[in-house]
C-alpha cells in the first residue's frame, strides 16, 4: 500500500502551507515523513539543503529540536505521569539549559500562552483540553523550531478555544519565522491559517496552489467537491449546493487504476480510467492533476 505516492513540496521560512484531504488520504503520513518520524521508501526530504535521510542517528538527534510536531491529541502527546513543570522542563534540559534558568524560562513560556503558574504542579489529566493543547504547543515552541508540522492541532478543541491555539501558532510563525505545515480537513481554518495549500487524495496531490485562489476558483473536480462541502453560514443558501458530492472516501489499500479520483468524478472521460494524470502547471502558481484541466 502506498500511503504517500510521488509528492513534492517545499515550504520556506515564515510560510504556512496547508495540507487538506479526507481521512486516510495520507496527509498525516506525509507530515511524519517531513519530520523523519517515518522513513520514506523512496525520495528525499531536505532541510536547509541537507538530506535528512542521509544523516546519522546522532546528527539527526541534534536537528530534531528544529523540526517539531504538534499533535492532534494533546492528551496523548503529554506523558500522563509528568507534571506541567516537568513537561516543560524536559525540552529545556535536553537543550542543556542551566537548572536555575529553567524556572524563569517556564514562566515565560506559560505567559506566552496565557497560562498561569498555578498549573505547574498539575498533571495533564487535570487540565482542560485547551490548556493541554497549549502546553503541547508551548513545549514544541520551547525548542525554537524552524519547521512545525501541526496535524489537526485544534480538531479536538472547542470552537471558542480553537481560535486561541491557532492564533498562537500563527503568531509564532510570523514572529520567529518558522515554516508551518498545517494538516487539516477543516477548510474554514485552512483558509484562515495558510498561504498555499495542497489537496491530497489517496496519497497524491490533486491540486496545489495559492490558498485564496483555491477557494475562489478550485480547479480539480475533487477540489470543487471539497469546496462545495463547506457549509455556508447563511441559512438562505442551505441545500443550494449542486448535488455534486458523490461517493465516499476510498480505502487507501485499494486504490483504483488511472486517475485515482475517477470513481467519484462527475466529469470522468474514458482516458481517466487508464491513464494517471500528472500535476500540470495551469498558471497563477496553481498545479492540477487532471486530464480535463
Amino acid at each position: 500500500m502506498r500511503a504517500v505516492d510521488g509528492v513534492s513540496l517545499s515550504i520556506s521560512r515564515g510560510e504556512s502551507f496547508g495540507l487538506v484531504g479526507e481521512s486516510g488520504c495520507g496527509k498525516s503520513t506525509l507530515g511524519k515523513l517531513l519530520l523523519r518520524m517515518l522513513e520514506p521508501t523512496a525520495g528525499r526530504v531536505s532541510y536547509q539543503g541537507s538530506d535528512l535521510g542521509l544523516l546519522s542517528e546522532g546528527d539527526m538527534k541534534g536537528l530534531r529540536p528544529k523540526l517539531q510536531p504538534i499533535f492532534q491529541d494533546a492528551d496523548g502527546s503529554l506523558d500522563p505521569r509528568y507534571t506541567v513543570y516537568r513537561l516543560l522542563a524536559e525540552p529545556l534540559q535536553i537543550q542543556g539549559m542551566e537548572r536555575r534558568k529553567i524556572g524563569g524560562m517556564i514562566q515565560d513560556l506559560l505567559g506566552r500562552v496565557n497560562l498561569g503558574t498555578e498549573l505547574l504542579e498539575r498533571h495533564p489529566h487535570e487540565l482542560s483540553g485547551g490548556q493541554r493543547q497549549r502546553i503541547g504547543l508551548v513545549r514544541a515552541l520551547a525548542m525554537k523550531p524552524d519547521f512545525i508540522v501541526a496535524d489537526e492541532p485544534a480538531a479536538s478543541l472547542d470552537l471558542s478555544v480553537q481560535a486561541q491555539v491557532l492564533d498562537l501558532l500563527n503568531s509564532v510563525r510570523e514572529r520567529d519565522g518558522a515554516g508551518l505545515l498545517y494538516v487539516s480537513h477543516n477548510l474554514r481554518m485552512v483558509r484562515l491559517m495558510t498561504q498555499r495549500l495542497a489537496i491530497m487524495y489517496l496519497g497524491k496531490f490533486m491540486e496545489t496552489g495559492d490558498t485564496e485562489s483555491f477557494f475562489t476558483k478550485p480547479m480539480h473536480p475533487y477540489s470543487q467537491m471539497l469546496v462545495s462541502s463547506l457549509l455556508s453560514l447563511d441559512p438562505a443558501k442551505r441545500r443550494a449546493r449542486k448535488n455534486m458530492i458523490t461517493g465516499e472516501p476510498p480505502d487507501p489499500s485499494d486504490a483504483p487504476g488511472g486517475c485515482r479520483f475517477h470513481p467519484r468524478c462527475p466529469y470522468r472521460k474514458p482516458l481517466c480510467l487508464h491513464e494517471e494524470p500528472g500535476l500540470k502547471d495551469v498558471g497563477n502558481s496553481t498545479k492540477v492533476a487532471c486530464h480535463l484541466v
Partner: protein, 327 residues
C-alpha cells in the same frame, strides 16, 4: 405557533458526584413544533447532550431531574419507566456521534435494522427483513451491505445504518447528537442531506445537537445556544445568523465567519465550580458590574429569548449580515 410536539420547560438536571453536586442543566426551556428542527449549539460540557439523553429518559441513576418534558399530551418526567420506554423508539429515537460503538459488532447491518423493526412491531421475521431492505435502500446504503458487519462499513455507512435503525419505527422526533462530527466533510454533507430528506418525507421533528455553526445554518429552524448548562439564546435561524444577539453567539460567529482568527479569551468554566452572575461574564467583551453579580433572567422579545443583561430586543448595530454573506 402550532402546538409543539415536544416542550421542555425549565429543565433542571443535577448530578450527585463524589466531588459535589453539579448542575449540568439549569433552567433549559425550548419547544419543537411538528416537522421542525431545533439545533442545540454549545461547547463540550455545556450540557447539551445531557438534555438530549434526559428526553430519552436514559439519564444515569444519580441524576436529579426537575422541570417538565412534555411530549404531545404526556409529561414524560411524570411517566413510570415502563410508560416512558413505550415512547422510546416508536415516538422518539436517537442517533449518536460514534455509530460504531452503538452497533452490535457481531450482527450484520441488515439484521440489526430488522431487529429494531421487529422489536416494536408485530411481524414475522421475513417481514422484518423485507422492511430492513427497504430501509437500507431509503438511507442510501447499497444492497450488498445488507449482510456486512458494522466494521466492514465506512463511517458514513455506519451512520446511515444507525439512521435506518432509528427510523425503523417511524418516530415523530429524532434526536441526533453530533451525528456528523466524526465524519469527513464530504460525507457530512451527504448525511445532512439524507436527514433533510427523511425529515420531510416522514414529517419528523428533529433535535440536532452540534457544535458546528455550518451544520446549524444548514439544518435548523430554531437555534438554542447553551453555555455552562444554561440556555443563553433561543431564536429563529435567520435571527441567529443575520442578527446574532447574545455576546456569546456573536463571539462564536466571529470565530467561524470572521476574516481573521478572532479568539474568545478564557476557557469554558468547569461545572463543578459555578460562576456567580452570568456564566459567560469572564469571557464577555461587554461585561459590566451587573453581569458579575446577578444571573441574567431569560427575556423574550419578538419571539427571541436571550439571557443577557444587555438584551433589550433592539439589535441595531449588532448586525453581522455583511460579514456572513461576504464569506
Amino acid at each position: 405557533m402550532r402546538k409543539p410536539l415536544l416542550e421542555v420547560k425549565d429543565l433542571q438536571i443535577k448530578f450527585e458526584t463524589k466531588r459535589g453536586t453539579i448542575a449540568v442543566s439549569d433552567g433549559v426551556s425550548f419547544a419543537i413544533g411538528e416537522n421542525e428542527t431545533l439545533c442545540l449549539v454549545g461547547e463540550s460540557g455545556c450540557g447539551k447532550s445531557v438534555v438530549a439523553v434526559s428526553i430519552m429518559g436514559l439519564l444515569p441513576a444519580h441524576a436529579r431531574v426537575a422541570g417538565e418534558i412534555r411530549y404531545r399530551e404526556a409529561d414524560l418526567l411524570q411517566c413510570s419507566p415502563g410508560e416512558w420506554s413505550r415512547f422510546r423508539g416508536r415516538e422518539i429515537a436517537m442517533i449518536f456521534e460514534q455509530p460504531m460503538s452503538c452497533l452490535n459488532p457481531v450482527i450484520s447491518a441488515g439484521r440489526q435494522i430488522a431487529e429494531a423493526y421487529a422489536a416494536n412491531n408485530r411481524c414475522s421475521k421475513r417481514e422484518a427483513l423485507a422492511e430492513a431492505r427497504r430501509k437500507l435502500d431509503e438511507v442510501g446504503i447499497p444492497e450488498n451491505c445488507f449482510v456486512k458487519f458494522p466494521h466492514e462499513l465506512s463511517g458514513g455507512m455506519q451512520q446511515r445504518v444507525m439512521i435506518a435503525i432509528a427510523l425503523a419505527c417511524r418516530p415523530n422526533l429524532l434526536i441526533a447528537d453530533e451525528p456528523t462530527a466524526a465524519l469527513d466533510v464530504t460525507v457530512q454533507c451527504q448525511i445532512l442531506e439524507l436527514l433533510h430528506c427523511l425529515k420531510d418525507r416522514y414529517r419528523m421533528s428533529m433535535l440536532l445537537i452540534t457544535h458546528d455553526l455550518g451544520v446549524v445554518a444548514e439544518m435548523a429552524d430554531t437555534v438554542g445556544v447553551m453555555y455552562a448548562g444554561t440556555m443563553m439564546e433561543l431564536s429563529g435561524v435567520e435571527d441567529f445568523f443575520y442578527r446574532p444577539g447574545h455576546p456569546y453567539s456573536r463571539a462564536l460567529m466571529n470565530v467561524v465567519a470572521g476574516n481573521a482568527l478572532s479568539p474568545i479569551r478564557g476557557s469554558v468554566p468547569h461545572l463543578l465550580e459555578p460562576v456567580p452572575g452570568c456564566p459567560f461574564h469572564a469571557r464577555c467583551v461587554d461585561a459590566v458590574e451587573q453581569c458579575r453579580r446577578a444571573r441574567p433572567q431569560p427575556r423574550i422579545v419578538n419571539g427571541r429569548m436571550e439571557r443577557c443583561h444587555h438584551f433589550t430586543g433592539d439589535n441595531s448595530g449588532r448586525q453581522l449580515d455583511q460579514m456572513v454573506s461576504s464569506r
